[in-house]
Symmetry: C2
Subunit: 320 residues, 2 copies
């Protein structure tokens, strides 16, 4: 099997690429390296089963060429910056919605009809049911990011229905672990490296969310794409059954670093407009397929912080 | 009040424009006349309260200029050709999703923050609950048209949450009445004018759908946009509590025309891939605001057929 991974040099993509190659599959890493990192691909250096292509998902022709010989696509490339969507509203539309359409269209041209898509718990907006199941009441979008991912889901579902594609939609909680480079733990660690005496928290510290270890996430993705059936498109929540709040994250980082910062709060229950004060997904549908996470949130946070300690370069080189 | 109506020269848009002007509002008809008709605007000829602008919803600058002095937007312009979406998949993306984004973006630039959006019962895909309420289980898309309208809904919701827009989403059933120029009644009537002895039906004739008279639709839209509140975006189903099937439509047309065609069927329960064999929306949310339809489906069909008799030019000039 040969899989093209858009965003394959990113956090989740590079971990998935390692796992696919480890089980004997071929991978094509397709990434524009805007946030992806060459160093995340070091394990694959010189491996004949891995091909690395620098390209943009909005470049239809380059995608079609890269898809030659592939059997499936894992579409992870996206604008993942939820917080600043309102400052540049067109970015989510282009990178996430039009980008997903372009990937699907290139797949049709290349004769590839199997796709796993990284969606998000943000498509539930501010749900009324917790933990939130995949078939919760039709949600209302609260962020441009969520709206753009919902649009991507709809496109994939329509391609499955209309062209017989096999599709899987993964609605992720926040993912943690090795190569994590985006989110509040990253921001907190960087801030505390620069000044261990104080920490400023967006929101009131009570925002409560679920997290999943990247290794558990990758195992789930492999299970789901292997089980995808032509003409169908199922959506699955990917998360743990636990949640944790921002204050708990601050305690864990402070303890890990051996510091006691003074914490100040912006004060609202949302970190920013469109932020969801509670994300807790019902993952029983995925669990019923035999999957369960190996790590707790506490263990995932510890792995992430250990990895930061050993890879401080990600704080220097990010945004290169 | 001054409203810009995208698609204002179309079936619903021109009826809405007449109603707005009749109650003393100003209207800006914004239409690219790809399917809109100059003759639908004859009532407004020379009326100082009506401005007609030929422009495309993908033309950001032209939209911003047209929005000068407007208080609200009724965004109806769209690709409404559900059936041929799979032949040209990019059309729905461009006309419906990117088009809606461009309208919203132009509104921000022009300082207009009130919008009513024409969505569709097709966003429910093939629902499991009938009649289908607005908060039915999170649906799966079955057509590119539905997916593109769902994407438009999400964008509007995110603009309401993020920028304080006042939004209303109308999920229409099929609309009938004066100036109806797209759908199975139109196709059947045209076919039977050319050959009254035979009629070919896509599907098995049992597809069952709900219909609403355009006058009732326009009254509901006025009620809903007048009640829209800043920072909120509610979705409403617009339909009758009745349904009818394709065979019944054939009987009504045949009786109206005084003919007895031999009917042949393509045979499937869906008229085309992505067609929904049953559309029946729960409209109690709209009814709870004091609205109810004045016409039955039978009366709406009769009005439509009478209008065809008096306006056969729509069959000649369509696609001009």
């Amino acid at each position: 099997m040969r899989a093209l991974i858009t965003g394959g040099a990113g956090f989740i993509g590079s971990n998935l690429a390692d796992a696919l190659v480890a089980r004997g599959d071929e991978v094509v890493i397709y990434d524009n390296f805007s946030t992806g990192q060459r160093r995340f691909l070091e394990n694959l250096d010189g491996d004949p089963k891995a091909t690395i292509i620098e390209g943009d998902i909005l470049d239809d022709d380059a995608l079609v060429r890269a898809l030659a010989g592939c059997h499936q696509v894992v579409h992870l490339a996206a604008n993942a910056d939820v917080r600043h969507g309102l400052e540049r509203p067109r970015v989510d539309l282009e990178q996430n919605t039009i980008g997903t359409f372009t990937v699907l269209s290139a797949m049709r041209q290349a004769g590839v009809d199997r796709i796993l898509f990284s969606s998000t718990g943000s498509v539930y907006g501010e749900p009324e049911v917790f933990p939130t199941p995949e078939d919760c009441p039709f949600p209302r979008q609260t962020s441009l990011y969520g709206a753009s991912k919902l649009a991507g889901e709809g496109l994939i579902q329509a391609f499955c229905e209309g062209y017989g594609f096999a599709g899987v939609i993964c609605r992720f909680v926040s993912i943690l672990g090795e190569r994590y480079t985006h989110g509040h733990l990253f921001d907190f660690y960087r801030s505390l490296m620069a000044d261990p005496t104080t920490l400023h928290v967006l929101g009131n510290g009570k925002q409560t969310k679920s997290y999943l270890y990247v290794g558990d996430c990758v195992r789930a993705m492999l299970l789901l794409i292997d089980g995808a059936e032509p003409g169908t498109c199922r959506a699955f929540n990917l998360g743990t059954d636990e949640t944790t709040d921002v204050d708990e994250s601050v305690r864990r980082i402070s303890s890990h670093m051996g510091i006691e910062p003074v914490v100040s709060y912006a004060g609202d229950e949302r970190g920013w407009v469109g932020d969801s004060p509670l994300i807790h997904l019902d993952c029983s549908s995925l669990r019923s397929r035999g999957w369960s996470p190996a790590l707790t949130i506490e263990e995932s946070v510890a792995r992430t912080l250990d990895w930061f300690d050993e890879n401080r370069w990600v704080f220097d080189e990010r945004g290169h």
